[in-house]
Symmetry: C2
Subunit: 254 residues, 2 copies
Amino acid sequence: MAEADRGARPDMPTPPGRRPRKAAPARQPLTQELVVDTAIRVLDAEGLEAVTMRRVAQELGTGPASLYAHVSGKEELRELMLDRVAAEIRLPVPDPARWQEQLKELAREIRRVYTSHRDIAVVSMALIPTGPHLLDVAEAQLALMHAGGVPKRIAGLAVSTLGMFLDADAIEDTLHHAKTPAGAGDPWTYFQEYLNQIREYFAALPKDRYPTVSGMVDELTAEDGDGRFEFGLDMLVRGIASYAAEASRPAGDG
Amino acid sequence: MAEADRGARPDMPTPPGRRPRKAAPARQPLTQELVVDTAIRVLDAEGLEAVTMRRVAQELGTGPASLYAHVSGKEELRELMLDRVAAEIRLPVPDPARWQEQLKELAREIRRVYTSHRDIAVVSMALIPTGPHLLDVAEAQLALMHAGGVPKRIAGLAVSTLGMFLDADAIEDTLHHAKTPAGAGDPWTYFQEYLNQIREYFAALPKDRYPTVSGMVDELTAEDGDGRFEFGLDMLVRGIASYAAEASRPAGDG
DNA sequence: ACCTGAACACCGTTCAAGT
DNA sequence: ACCTGAACACCGTTCAAGT
């Protein structure tokens, strides 16, 4: 961190007769790594929508055209960002005796990392993983299911379903937080107020058209992001395990 | 359809001395309904990304500013589009004896309607339903679970989880189809070729880093959108039903 | 090889002015 | 009340020109 500007030394005055370049020159030579780092900084500070080619370029003290030497376009930049984020996910060493709990722990870890980078999960939705770190995560999930005796076909479907669940949940979690308008004080307070408005709206609904909804206002507005996550995760893992039980029944199962 | 231009008669010549307005005048008075109809036409033809305020205005023969009298902005337009689409979903009359199968049928119906309107499901993701037709769908889901004896708290979590699953699945389904570049022939052929490239890429992965993935190339690239949907749906509904069984055990259950 | 200024073809939203 | 032209502050990407 402290040595980031070595070599460029922008703190040095310009020698006489050696006219300075147009503006502050790029401190470091542009690299793909630097572009992705910068993009993630913008993501963390302001969310995925703020990560534009122009904005990232500006942050690097250059123009948008310069990025295209290191990245094929916005889509690739987003995928590189996701893979970089995926590198933060800590992966388990499979222990066949606790594969279900490990699968849940891994899911919680993915959720933690995703939601710590705003709405990065939007990029993951409907993306076939090809980046090295995203593939590490898939490998870990599949290895756990393999250790648990889940048939290959089921495991293949399950990574996909689990991925959909994780992406959707992370997006849900962060978009609620992010709905706060730019200068509207504390996001949490704002969201609570928004939830209260929803509660009022639901309570005011015509009871003849929406009898069930009307009687469930509290249950439907309980927020409860964690509860929803654990509920869905538990169903998913139990479902996956049920196939493992079927497959291993002849061999005897705990 | 044939009577759309009544009243405006753009086929009449302009009477002498009655200077024509700038371009073709708006044929029909602008209404929110007309704006939403037009937006959905653009959606169906070119996908959600093509639905811009400017594009919809152009389609209506006016400028983008004109839309703001009928719609507060792009976000509201998108939500109105989704609710209009949700009106197409056929809802069941609950039959307590087959509530699980009905819940599945409803999920398939939602999937059918969503995927028939390109990537409209993107709008649904992370949106609290407030439109009348979206609420009809939620009411139907909750009524089915109520008929099945699912506890309120579980039913509340389940609509949310089921919604996440349906949205994610519909997005996955349509984004694959939509990845086809503008003038690249048949989308299905294109996607098959893309899948083959993925297969090759997976097969070429280093086996020491990705031992499990390497041994599952076929299972991971089986496409199988329907299979994945039924797999996830079955797990979800079985999971929900397991809570109903717990709750109704004292009363005796079929 | 890498970088860039300028341009192209777009965005959403606002606002004063018209009818 | 409804509609609009013009403007504002943005987009992603391309390309010829520079170093």
